[in-house]
């Protein structure tokens, strides 16, 4: 069987695609009305930039950052499988401040899940630069545990520039209990028998006790702001 051409095409395409991913600017667009030199039209606009450009309040795209006493504890008993196939619970993984977002590999909308995964990859880089990696954790959870096996999640993360390790995870809920986890985390999605029907964009920030500190939604979050949030939580 001649496999070489497949592998070569796959690898070349992966390289090309990852270079495309890295070209996507994040948190750089000051206004979609006036893209600055070198910017790609149609690039994602973050919540804070959108708010700045329109004079709107950030409350429209995020909940306020809550003080410890005002935070409520989320149910984190749901079992999940990591990208390495290890079965654990969310509770065990949220042993430090954690940012959780959601995506799935079969998402047909190029403006949503691939960008979410890419933005999580960039967030990981920002956390590393800020010296926070190891003190905080990132986690993506797939909406589609029926399809997204650990191998699929690893592939999806790789081509969208999200490096996986103990500090940045890709998690698969149990197939039967998937909807329970999404309900517990108040995820903005509805489902059909085969998977997700409609979903939004969301990043939830938990403190080390598993309490909800803030939730970004509707638009892609601003990674600088997410780094600030996680730093504040790490210093608590």
């Amino acid at each position: 069987m001649k496999l070489t051409p497949f592998i070569a095409i796959g690898c070349l395409a992966a390289l090309w695609s990852s270079s495309c991913s890295s070209r996507q600017p994040q948190s750089t667009m000051t206004s979609c009305c006036s893209p600055s030199k070198g910017e790609v039209a149609g690039a994602p606009m973050t919540a804070s930039n959108q708010a700045a450009a329109s004079g709107a309040s950030m409350d429209l795209f995020a909940t306020p950052f809550l003080a410890p006493a005002a935070r409520r504890t989320l149910a984190l008993d749901d079992r999940v499988t990591t990208q390495d196939g290890k079965v654990t619970t969310l509770r065990e993984l949220v042993d430090r401040p954690t940012a959780i977002s959601f995506a799935y590999s079969q998402c047909a909308n190029p403006n949503k899940c691939p960008r979410v995964v890419n933005t999580m990859g960039l967030l990981r880089g920002d956390l590393e630069k800020a010296g926070l990696l190891g003190r905080v954790r990132l986690a993506l959870i797939t909406y589609d545990p029926g399809h997204d096996t650990p191998a699929v999640m690893r592939g999806f993360a790789r081509i969208n520039g999200y490096m996986l390790d103990d500090d940045s995870l890709f998690l698969r809920p149990e197939v039967d209990a998937g909807h329970k986890l999404f309900h517990d985390l108040e995820v903005r999605a509805s489902f059909n028998d085969n998977g997700v029907a409609l979903h939004g964009i969301q990043l939830i920030i938990l403190d080390k006790k598993g309490r909800l500190a803030r939730s970004y939604h509707t638009l892609l979050w601003d990674n600088h702001q997410a780094v600030d949030d996680l730093r504040r939580l790490a210093e608590e």
Partner: protein
């Protein structure tokens, strides 16, 4: 069982390569969403330059070549249908006639449909049209039979082929019925087919039998019965030798419309054979009475076990006028029944009452909440359309509608992604008409910023423009849409057929109209949008990046230019 480690490794590598290829394709789709990589937009803009309608032969040939290349190579029926409706007869003959021989039956069907829109102006392609009567695909035959019978005197050339179809039992009853109907349309010149039609009038298939009976009557030019004969004969007269003349008398009608409608109601109540039930329903639809009796008798026929009767009753219900307010409570009751077709018809009927049926809005919302899932999708859209038609009279529904915009709303549960998006677009459009509130902002921004669906974006743009002061937050996204939308997204539109039927979305939600809606929205937002207008003007004046434009949408493009001019 032992596993061969080498073949297992090969399988894994092969699966890995496939997965990589899949993910890379997704990456490519992402990259292609950017305008500078939208080859289709570029190609269209380069090719047209506004010369086509000015009689420039070279440009015309170029346009024809381009269309053939686009449609012929890809078999892109959705876009072909969108464009063929807007072609001139000359363009249609040049572009569509060769496509009648396309290997893809869908392309042949749409090309034929597009040609027949031009009726007698399509006569230069008569030979090709007649050849369609021998097409291997029966949909094409049915379309051709209907079309050639409308071509005037030359239709007689189709008679031998139509008779052959009628006599060929291998064809479906629907195809043979179309042939019989076409022969009836042609009339006396189809005299030679009378024996075949008389035989078909006894066919076990109700629709074919009735069509053949009527066609034979039309070819013989039998005069209708008089009103007196009709009244004295009663329902029984429709069953005997005078059946065609009796039907013709109600169709003309020789009696006053109300009396004829009453006769049809009595005929249906006497439960005649299926062909007559079909015809009586059709005649009722044409007479369009506004009486409760007519509605009730049609309700009964909707549940008829014979599908043709149910369909004819449904068509008749759709044709009844919304004049009699006494019908509204009956229709609200009908809309809440478990029979989905009946509910849809009642909701549509209520929609025709417009603002007068505002009292139905709460019941419509309750219906959407109660009957959910894929099997009730069409019903929900019909109910939303009824609410939409009441306009601001249904302002009490605003909070419910806004709540349904959240991704977790129960109305999306169980739907596939395609239908979930349609549902959200329908809710947005409804909200636009009843008057949106700031609660809709998160969903509107989500669609403006993240959606990959043009109709959904068009609906969100419309709501954004109506949010007044709160809509200011949408201004950057509206500008962005003006910059970003590409013509390739037009292909997506055809996937929203059901939405088009029930909801009448933003007219022809193609990229030009999304831009147009964006400009209108910005104008509606008034001073809040002022910073954006300079950018819009700059964008419009930039020769390197013209706004999406396509000849079939000239009117919209002209409107867009006009809107831009008024902003100066």
């Amino acid at each position: 069982m032992m596993t061969n480690p080498v073949s297992s490794l090969r399988r894994r590598v092969f699966a890995g390569a496939l997965a990589l290829a899949f993910f890379c394709k997704q990456g490519a789709a992402w990259a292609d969403s950017r305008p500078e990589q939208d080859a289709f937009t570029r190609q269209s803009l380069e090719a047209q330059a506004g010369q086509i309608r000015r009689g420039d032969e070279a440009a015309h040939r170029e346009y024809v070549a381009q269309m053939l290349s686009l449609f012929g190579k890809t078999g892109n029926t959705a876009f072909l249908r969108e464009c063929s409706a807007n072609l001139s007869a000359r363009e249609a003959l040049a572009v569509l006639t060769p496509l009648l021989q396309h290997t893809n039956a869908d392309v042949r069907f749409v090309a034929l449909d597009g040609l027949l829109l031009h009726k007698r102006e399509a006569l230069p392609a008569l030979t090709n049209l007649l050849a369609c009567l021998s097409d291997p695909d029966e949909r094409v035959i049915v379309e051709a039979a209907d079309g050639v019978s409308q071509l005037g005197k030359v239709s007689v050339y189709a008679v031998p082929a139509l008779q052959r179809i009628l006599l060929t039992s291998a064809y479906s009853a629907a195809t043979r019925r179309a042939a019989a109907g076409a022969l009836g349309e042609i009339g006396p010149p189809a005299q030679m087919t009378l024996a075949a039609l008389d035989a078909a009038a006894h066919d076990p298939h109700a629709g074919l039998a009735l069509t053949a009976l009527v066609a034979a009557g039309e070819i013989r030019r039998q005069p209708p019965l008089s009103c007196e004969e009709l009244e004295t004969g009663g329902p029984a007269i429709f069953l005997g030798a005078k059946a065609y003349r009796a039907l013709e008398a109600t169709r003309v009608p020789v009696c006053p419309p109300d009396e004829s409608a009453g006769l049809m109601v009595h005929l249906l109540a006497s439960h005649p054979p299926a062909p007559l039930r079909v015809e009586a329903c059709r005649i009722l639809g044409k007479l369009a009475p506004d009486s409760l009796e007519a509605v009730n008798v049609l309700f009964d026929q909707i549940e008829d076990p014979e599908p043709l009767v149910a369909q004819a009753a449904a068509d008749a219900m759709d044709a009844l006028p919304a004049k009699n307010p006494a019908l509204i409570p009956v229709l609200i009751e009908g809309a809440s029944q478990s029979n989905g077709l009946k509910a849809i018809l009642c909701a549509r009927f209520l929609a025709r009452f417009g603002p007068d049926a505002a009292s139905a809005a709460p019941a419509m919302l309750a219906d959407i909440g109660h009957f959910r899932g894929p099997e009730n999708f069409g019903r929900s859209l019909a109910c939303l359309a009824a609410v939409r038609a009441t306009g601001t009279n249904a302002s009490g529904t605003r909070s419910n509608l806004s709540a349904w915009l959240t991704e977790t709303a129960v109305i999306y549960t169980g739907l596939d992604q395609h239908h979930a998006k349609q549902m959200r677009a329908a809710v947005l459009l409804t909200l636009a008409d009843v008057g949106p509130t700031a609660d809709a902002l998160p969903a509107v921004l989500d669609e403006l910023a993240n959606s990959s669906s043009l109709p959904l974006q068009a609906a969100a743009v419309r709501v954004a423009g109506l949010l007044q002061e709160q809509g200011r937050v949408c201004v950057p996204r509206l500008c962005e849409l003006l910059n970003r939308v590409g013509l390739d997204a037009a292909v997506d539109l055809d996937n929203f057929d059901a939405l088009t039927e029930e909801m009448q979305p933003v007219p022809g939600a193609h990229p030009t109209s999304v831009c147009l809606e964006s400009i209108r929205a910005l104008r509606r937002l008034g001073p809040a949008a002022r910073p954006a207008l300079a950018v819009v003007r700059q964008r419009a004046a930039d020769p390197a990046r013209p706004l999406p434009y396509f000849p079939p949408y000239q009117r919209e493009a002209a409107e867009l230019a006009d809107a831009l001019a008024k902003m100066q």
